[in-house]
Symmetry: C2
Subunit: 393 residues, 2 copies
Amino acid sequence: MSIQFAFELEHRDRSTAGRLGRLCTPHGVIETPVFAPVGTQATVKTLTPRELAELGATLILANTYHLYLRPGPELIARLGGLHRFMAWDGPILTDSGGFQVFSLANLRRVDDKGVLFRSHIDGSEHLLTPEKATAIQELLGADIIMAFDECASPMDRLQVEDAMHRTHRWAERCLATHQRHDQALFGIVQGGAFADLREESARVLSSMPFAGYGIGGLAVGEPKDVTWAMVDVTVPLLPEDKPRYLMGVGSPEDLVEAVSRGIDMFDSVLPTRLARNGAVFTREGRLNLRNARFAEDPRPIEEHCCCYTCQHFTRAYLRHLLAAGEILGLVLNSIHNLAFLTDLMADIRAAIREDRLAAFRSEFLGRYVPVDEASRLRGRELYGRRRRGEEDT
Amino acid sequence: MSIQFAFELEHRDRSTAGRLGRLCTPHGVIETPVFAPVGTQATVKTLTPRELAELGATLILANTYHLYLRPGPELIARLGGLHRFMAWDGPILTDSGGFQVFSLANLRRVDDKGVLFRSHIDGSEHLLTPEKATAIQELLGADIIMAFDECASPMDRLQVEDAMHRTHRWAERCLATHQRHDQALFGIVQGGAFADLREESARVLSSMPFAGYGIGGLAVGEPKDVTWAMVDVTVPLLPEDKPRYLMGVGSPEDLVEAVSRGIDMFDSVLPTRLARNGAVFTREGRLNLRNARFAEDPRPIEEHCCCYTCQHFTRAYLRHLLAAGEILGLVLNSIHNLAFLTDLMADIRAAIREDRLAAFRSEFLGRYVPVDEASRLRGRELYGRRRRGEEDT
């Protein structure tokens, strides 16, 4: 790993396991804890790069699986790489395609060599291997890339164990094949919902020279207490001087909780997907702007929010746009939800710096109305649809 | 009409009938000739007001018919009026609802009183009258508002004549009922494809104290030579010191042609609708970015265009966004197409100032590839769909 990727731990919160850090990349410094908006197909849905920069995004994620299938990594490389292609000059992280190939594609065969699958777009057959996933990510040219991993259903122990061991063997091959010195390669801890497997995976991967560590295979439908139990057994076993990335987590309450447990990085389609469904974050909880009670509401989504949406538009106008099927409504809601999370992460960092993250967490979770049961169930349906091939496309 | 609406004719082109002017409104000065992007439902589709201002829009249009049905003019008035509702601080023009009620709604009865129709949204029954259309536009609070008119099929002489006479009677009633001094009220010349009726309509309306004149009922599917013949009989009969507005015209070639014939103002959904279909303007003609030949094209849409899209993105990226169904593609194409037209209008104004509009027109039309026959036919289909209720929603 090049000096460009130095991860400096600036401060440890004395009230929780939260940490404040700075991750240096060739495209700029990322202050951690950080939330990364997801730009699945080389675009954070509905937003220009300028809007993303303005709302405070410092790191964005793109999906190797999607970009491999369309428009193809060679095309992106010929056009100058992913940063130039999508006109985002800041840091980018690409996942390995592991999660997507198991959740979106039609699997044909999984063995030590790799994963044979059919594209969810056109049914064409492809083989992804650790070497190929790494080569694709080198062509894309993100600042942070992920080792190719196998994702298993988290409750099936035999399957999880098998997938974990294969993930470890693939991790070695990713490290062996990775060439670019301007990219940081992260490993991914697996182990499903089994504490002993999580521990084993954290130990094995920690012994490999990764620049950071993802925690994968969580937040995929398992109960929350299982998620946190798995995080809690994993985090203490990871190297202290490397960033820890809880993949696929992005609800406000989960971010606050996970940072308190020692996580440094996050990504999720949740804020942008909710935005497109009309749901927006506030410090008091989620609002669904499609609700008739907002029809004449002259307030912004949040009184003290500094985002472009809250500085210019009322809830009444946003509801009108949603009711009229206008794209601008999706844009403005997306701006707010991402600004909400970048603001939240800034507040979290300030709390860590002042050793008061425990108090911040209590106060935040005391005020924030968690998603009600009906919405939780809808969330599971969403998850079900995702597994059937829609993800964030 | 208040002094705020002074229309100053700054210069007359010596090579054509083109004119350069300044139309003062309470929300700013509009340099004419001007093209107004259309924001049917209080949003120029896909764009933020900031993007609109940046690409050079100085006047935007909103649709009375749509806003009357949803969210309702009283609601918009209670929220501070249309400017504040949609966060657009510049001049706004609202049409009268006349064209939409005849093209989108299910007509029930048309008589001198007004138009009884059923909403295309929910089938509810409504009566629009000259008085009501004016009152709605007063509630919306646009800077420029239009008299309520009856639109007839342009080739049916009996129907056209009847509609024209009713439009004249309604024009008197709009003038009589209009109260707000911070709004300029324009009349609308009708007369279909009949020169003598156009002449009559221009004479009758010119005798009424309107602040400006729309030319309506054209560009609705009739042959181009008919359009220009009607413009040419109408323009000389309109007061020289009032702005002339050719409603619903917005292709680059038509703008150049119409300005040369003495028109000052335009609006059309064409640039934004084309953009959402993947078609973008260049000085050489239209490109459809969905075409496979753009898959690896590293150029911007236009080399020397200063719009946000051309300054940051390649044709290859824009094509990828379209192929992947990404909303950002619609946003970026819309920015370019509107910037193209505002730039074109600026070039037209410069040519008028230097008495070289005839040369500019020759050069522009010599380079610009007009839409081919297949696209013209598709255009007619579009028109057909519009008449069946889709318009720009």
